[in-house]
Each structure stands twice: as C-alpha cells, then as structure tokens.
Subunit: 324 residues, 2 copies
C-alpha cells in the first residue's frame, strides 16, 4: 500500500506501535504534541517537524519567511506543552545548485525567531538532497507534572483559544492561488509571519491545574477532535464565540469560502485548551498578565468527537501526506 493511501495519521499509528520505551519516557511517539522525558528535577520536552519545498513553501515565499516558519512550527509544539524553549536544531537538505545567499537568508529568518523565543540554534546538519528540505527540532523544559496534555480534558471544562482562527489558512490559499496579496495583507502575513504562543502556554502550565491543549496547525476541528479522542470526551463549540478576524470574514464572503473551511484548515499557531471551569478566570488572568488572551469557545461534555452549535463535525483536518 502507498503512504498516501494510508494517510498521515494511520501511518503514525503504524510506526509508533510497539516502539521500545524505557521508564524515563513520560510521553512517547504519537502520544502528544511533543515527547516528554524525565531529566533530573525537571522534564525535557522534544519535538521535530520537517518541511519540504514542494509541499510547504509556496512560490514567492521569501527565504527569511521560510526560516521563520520552520522555527515557529517547532517552537509552537513547545508552547502547546507549556514548556520553556531551551534550544533548537536545524538539519538541511540542499540541492547542489542551491544559492548560498538564499540559504543565508533562511538562516537569518531562523535565527531571528530563535532570538525572539530565546531558543538558541545550537546545531544540525547539511546534506545534498533533491529539494530544499528543513528539519527543525525544538527542545524545551518544564517542571515535573506541569505539561499541558491532550488527554487532560474532563467533562465540565471550559474550551478556549488564544487568538483568531483561520487567517493563516486563507493566507496560504491566497498565496497558492497566486492572488494579489495587497488587500489581504493581514491574512497572508498570518501565514508568512506566524507566532508561537509560548507565553500563553507557559502561563497556563505554571497554573499547574491539569489543563489539556494543543496547537491548531492542522485546523481547529482536528485539534478539538484530538483532545476529545485522547481524553475520551466531547468538545462542544459555539460558533458565534469562535474569534474570526474581520478580514477573514470579508475574504470568505467575497470568495464564497464557507466558515467551516477556516475551522477545518491549518497553519494557525494558536492554542486550543480546556481548563477546569472554576479555574478559568484565574488562568485567563495569568495569560493576560503574560500579554496574551484566552477566549472561551465552548465546553467539554460527556460523549465523543466535536460538536458545533450541537451538530457533529468531521475532524479529519489536514493530512500532510495528501497535501495540497
């Protein structure tokens, strides 16, 4: 069977079945946003994300933006666990004819993001390949038991997100279709110049109240579905409360894009979290103190899957083996 027929999720399930573990592995492959390993008095968080020219970098994406994107994608998984960034590594595949100054600009984009998140770029590798390939690795640390886990949602929790959903998915759409970006600069920028919600993730984890959560890089519905599946609950969302930007609404109206498209497509690095109801105001206030925001979009109830305004939604999300 071909990899594309099986799809990314089943492939991951297949590959993580029966892997060797030892007692220091607290969270292993396929179990959450990142791995969690016991390390002295703390826990080490590790995640790797790989991207390829033919799949991930639309024509016209500047080298600095490519670098930033890869760095932020990796750091975002630390944010989703609530970890403090520690360091990053980047390994490259380059075609022999690849332009050195373009490569230097990619590194510049990576390094700027590393500085922004205090996640110094400490190593990696460079090899010959058929296309530009960049594998990023983010390492972080977190106090024992503090990690935000996909499996922590409980019936009665509040569901919340850290910011607006859907801008980046539309931004990518605009770039892929080669549309003029002028009028939709904010949407395109959300795709090209993303931010990882590290401060928000840290603030939530430090409350140490067993929050659930992950980032929304594969779409809100998919992420909500993952939390529901891993926690054995249902996430019931209220459509009116999901924050969508004026620009995204306008673009969707003008181009006949259904709102569910925004909620079902990725590239946002916002977090979706679930928080114990009685702790929600306290956590929201900590996130605001850290300079972020936390917007309630629904509730955790008994059951399974994801509801929006009481109707069940598909949570398949974006499958990177079949994309675009």
């Amino acid at each position: 069977m071909k990899a594309s027929e099986l799809g990314e999720r089943k492939l991951i399930k297949l590959l993580t079945r029966g892997l060797y573990k030892n007692p220091r592995v607290l969270v292993g492959a396929g179990e959450d946003d990142a791995a969690l390993i016991s390390f002295g008095e703390k826990e080490l968080v590790a995640k790797s994300d790989i991207m390829f020219r033919s799949t991930h970098f639309p024509e016209g994406m500047k080298p600095e933006a490519i670098g930033r994107k890869v760095a932020v994608a990796n750091i975002s998984d630390l944010a989703a666990m609530g970890a403090s960034p520690l360091a990053t590594l980047f390994s490259f595949g380059l075609p022999p004819s690849f332009d050195v100054s373009e490569f230097a600009r990619i590194i510049k984009g990576i390094n700027a993001a590393c500085l922004e998140y205090d996640a110094p770029y400490v190593g990696g590798d460079t090899k010959k390949a058929k296309e530009l390939s960049i594998c990023g690795i983010a390492l972080g640390e977190i106090g024992r038991g503090e990690a935000i886990r996909r499996c922590n949602a409980r019936s009665g929790d509040v569901v919340a997100v850290t910011g607006k959903i859907g801008d980046a998915a539309l931004g990518l759409e605009i770039l892929l279709k080669g549309m003029k970006t002028g009028r939709y600069g904010k949407l395109v920028n959300a795709f090209l110049n993303p931010s990882a919600r590290v401060k928000e993730g840290r603030a939530i984890a430090q409350c140490n109240i067993g929050a659930a959560g992950m980032d929304i890089t594969d779409g809100l519905f998919f992420s909500a579905g993952e939390i529901a599946r891993m926690s054995g609950v249902c996430l019931s969302l209220d459509r009116w409360s999901i924050p969508i930007s004026k620009e995204a609404r306008k673009f969707a109206e003008e181009h006949n894009v259904k709102e569910n498209y925004l909620l079902n497509n990725g590239e946002d690095y916002e977090l979706i979290v679930t928080i114990k109801r009685e702790k929600f105001e306290e956590v929201r206030s900590k996130v605001e103190d850290a300079g972020g925001s936390l917007i309630q979009i629904g509730n955790v109830i008994k059951g399974k899957g994801v509801l929006i305004d009481g109707r069940r939604v598909k949570t398949a999300g974006y499958d990177s083996l079949n994309y675009p």
Copy 2:
C-alpha cells in the same frame, strides 16, 4: 554562488556565524560533534543528522539497514561526546507512492538500534517529499564538564582509535559499484550494519581527564584534522599502528586501492581520541572493562595539521554536498 561550489564546511561556517546564543549553551552550532546545553545538575547533548535516498542509501540497501544506519549515525555523535543516550526522534519525508511495508521495515531497523543503545524513539514527524528523507535526532546526557571535546588535545597526548578503520568505506564502494558482496561480506557489513561506540565514549568521559575526540564518519584524516584545528596542535600518526582489517588490506591489494583511501573516507563509526599520556593505560583499561578497545596510533605534538610517518596529509575528508 551554488552550495556545491562553497562545500559543506564553508557553508556550515557561514551559517553558524553570528547565531544567537545564551549562557545555557555550552557548545553551540558547528563547535563540536553535538551541542551541549546546561540542564539542572547535568548537561544535555543534542545532535541531528539528515539523510536522503539519492545521496546516502545505495541501491540494494535493505530498509532495516537504512533505519539502523540513520539511528546509529545519530547515536554515534553522542558516543563521540561521551554521553549516555537518552532518546531519539526521527522525522521523515516520504513520496506519496512510498510503500508502507518498506516504511514499516525502516522503522523496525530504527527501533532495533534504539533498543540496542537504550535510546528510545520518542517522536518526530512525517511529511510528503520528493524522495525518502530521514532526519534523526539523538539526545543524551552527561555529567558537568565530562564531555569529550574536539578542542581538548594537548601536545604530549596519545592518539588512539576504538577499532579498525576503512572497512565501511570499502563496503560502500563495493555497493556503489554493484560488485558481488559475497567475498567481501565483512566490509559490506561494516557499512550496512555499523555500531556506535557508546560504551567506549562513556568509559572515556567518565575518567573525566579532559580527553579530546570525535567519530570517524568523514574519514580518519578529516577527524584527526578537526581535532588538530580545534585544539591548535598537530596529530602525528604512525601508519603501521593504524588498525586495518585483513579483508580491507586484501581488497585494497586486489583492486589497487591506495591505503590512504581507507584513511580518507568515511562511514566508520569508530572514535578517534587523544588522552593524556600518563592516563592512557588507565583509560584503556576502563574502555576494555566496558567491552571495547583503544589502540594507540600516534601522538599529539606542537604544530598544526596531521602527519603520517612524518609527512603531511590532506584532511579535507568527505564533503557531503559534493558526494558521491
């Protein structure tokens, strides 16, 4: 300028110039076999190595051997620092048509190596790409100040290696030329089924005597040259003492391969180390207790570069951007 014109080493120099660091980074990008980061009472060691079908996996290399190779290449960098393996991550690029059962066999090879070195495979990523691409990441830990560093060699030290040099380079040659492997099984096996010198590295690091060292994946002369350059010394090697297998000598004779080819080409995962003369017997005995061996092949003297029997050798090694 094209990447291949600049070459791998200059490219790395370019990309690591001016990277952001913070005080927790003890060894950063381009400074040694792996990065070293302060983490509580210990130090975290991290390394990433990336490989591509078109560059690294000769025709006929079995999927299990591909998996093992990538895992061992990464774990070997932990060995070269003297670290204990902690965990590994692997990120994949797969063509959509890639066969799932072949992928499962690659994972099997990886997992077997992870078990062998107690370096559990804890995460990674899978994306669509033009060719099979595998990025491995090895994480390890080491006591404060114990790391074997490339810059630690001092005039008067003994130069030693942990095993035979050149088998793997010939094994690769045999595979690339499509020669029958029957008679040269041992050489081919050295390439296909390598071992990382973790026990040896650990034994040396635990002696805590400021040893220098690295692995020999880019050739003995290159590695000797790196230690010489980073330490500001000259490594003077004695040709007769360099351990070369009977099979390698025989193949070289029959096929008119110069001995320097064995010493100038990579794919061996043996370590080259330099040890204070008065400590050498003690360290050798610890390495032997751990089940390994340490063979003196020369001495560190004042000066620079690498000498063999008193004559200067080129230390350019293997450049993976220009290979094969």
